[in-house]
Every structure is written in C-alpha cells, then in structure tokens.
Symmetry: C2
Subunit: 137 residues, 2 copies
DNA sequence: TATTGACCTCAAGCTGGCTTCAAGTTGCAG
DNA sequence: CTGCAACTTGAAGCCAGCTTGAGGTCAATA
C-alpha cells in the first residue's frame, strides 16, 4: 500500500497532524483522497514535507515556500526566481559557517572577554555586510 | 569616539531601536552607560548583534542565544554545550545544502512532476533522517 | 453489532518576537 | 534660551505558525 493515514504521515515526517491540516489549509500539501472523512496521503507527500521543513530552516515563510513549490499549474516555472532563492540560501549558509566558527572559538579561546580577543573581532568582520536579513524596513 | 546612540547602532546593525530595547530587556545586550536617559553603546555591541542575528538565522530562540553568549559571569563556560550547538548548526547547514540542490533541480529538471523524477526523489532521501528540528514533542 | 480510538471541523487560544502608541524628557543647533 | 528631533518608559497590539477544545463521524476489531 501507498496510502497513508494522517497519523502515519505525522510519525514519518515529524510534523504533528494539526500542522499537516494547517499546511493543507495554506495550500502547501494535499491528501490524495479521503477514506470516509479521513485524509489518505500518497507517500510523495513526505518529499514535499521534507522540502517544507528545509524551507523553514532556511527562514522562508510558509507562503514563500508555497510559492516556490507550486510546480503544479504553471507551464513555465519561474527559474530565475528559484535560482535567486537558492542564492539566498547559499548566502545564509555562509553566515551559519561563521556562526559555527564563532561558537567553537568561544568554546576554546581563553581571552578574558571576546571583545578583547582580536581574532574574534576579526572573524566577526569577515562577513562584512552579509545582508540585513532583518527583512522589513 | 566609541560611544554610539541607539539610533546609530540601529543604522549600523540593521536592527530597529525598538528591537534593541527588547533585546536589552531579555538580557542579550546592554548599553555601556547612559547620557541622561539615553543609552550609549560601545561598538562591541555590534559584534554581539551580529552573533544574535546569526543565531536567529540558525533557528535558535533569543533565550538560547542569550544562554550561549553569557560569557560574562561564569568562570567555566560550558564548552561541550557550545560545541554541541556548533554541531547543530553544521547539521542545519547540511539540510540547507540539500535545499539548494532541490531548488536548482526544480528550476532545471523538466520531468512532468517531481514526484516522477527519480533523481529528485533520490536526492530527498540522501538526508535520511536529518533530525526532526520540529522541536517540541 | 457494539465499542473504541483515530480521525473530522471550526473557532478560539497561545507563544515568540517585535512594533506601535501615548505621554514625557533631554541634548544640542540656532 | 528656545525649539525640536531623538531619545525615554510601559502597556497594548500584531502577525505567523501552530495547538487546543468541544462536539461529531466512522472503520475496524472483539
């Protein structure tokens, strides 16, 4: 069988059933069919949920995520927009790498305060103006 | 001069003044002094704010971020905990790399649906059980 | 065929992270 | 020394993203 109950999808994906219903209301996922009232999902929903989860990790709103993976319907998907999103994520990754270094630094460096550790301050500025990310004006 | 008004910190950091006051209430930052009522910041606050911003990108709550960078006060900072956080961020980065590949794939692949593109589905499962990240129970 | 546990809907409630508002204070240019 | 822009506080408001609750339905086991 290929048909999953909402509870099974929940278990497999790590999302709660209530979240799955919420995503459905937002148009992010859809059950394949209903058995009585009960939603039945195809297992491709798990891929979609994995993407949603990654999109969230990348800081995208559910609406943005919806817009990205609305492959359905459109003849022409918006390739440049998707590459732009990918670029954003790569930028994001660069910041996270600095964070990793900062965390490991703080764990190891024994300068009395990081404000006084020159290598720390230098590190903080290797990422000179890595976007505000503080989105709205 | 080394002494910044809240408005200057706002401009330099990209955070709004209201957010800076909010962070202060949470204990994440602190002005060096006051000139009358007005907060005066040392420019090391900018490093701290950069860390806060990166921590947020990594999906940490403000409380967690506060806990991480409470270098002050403690004799012994919790090195293992910091390395554990760094590990989390690295895990996070791995997921984001998959997202980049997924986005570029969707932008380029012309299979009728991604559910039907085997290389897409395979990619989705290269990250077998990359943590729930769906934090609370 | 009766029970039961997993599902259903819809509305209201909650949390984190800020922003906005109202009313007041103050440093500094003119 | 006046005016005003930039600050101050505390409380209330707002949005995204869910969760919870009440009351109901239904499929499958005993």
């Amino acid at each position: 069988m290929n048909s999953l109950d909402i509870g099974e999808v929940a278990k497999l994906s790590g999302f709660k059933a209530s979240a799955l219903r919420y995503y459905e209301k937002l148009g992010l996922i859809q059950p394949d069919s209903r058995k009585g009232l009960r939603r039945q999902y195809d297992d491709t929903v798990l891929d979609r949920l994995a993407l949603i989860s990654m999109g969230q990790s990348a800081g995208f709103s559910l609406d943005e995520i919806g817009a990205m993976f609305q492959d359905s319907g459109q003849f022409e998907i918006d390739r440049p927009a998707l590459h732009a999103k990918a670029d954003e994520v790569e930028q994001h990754i660069r910041r996270l790498r600095i964070l990793v270094r900062a965390l490991r630094h703080v764990a190891e460096c024994s300068a009395p305060s990081h404000a006084e550790c020159p290598s720390f301050r230098k590190m903080m500025h290797e990422a000179p103006q890595l976007e505000p990310l503080h989105k709205k004006s």
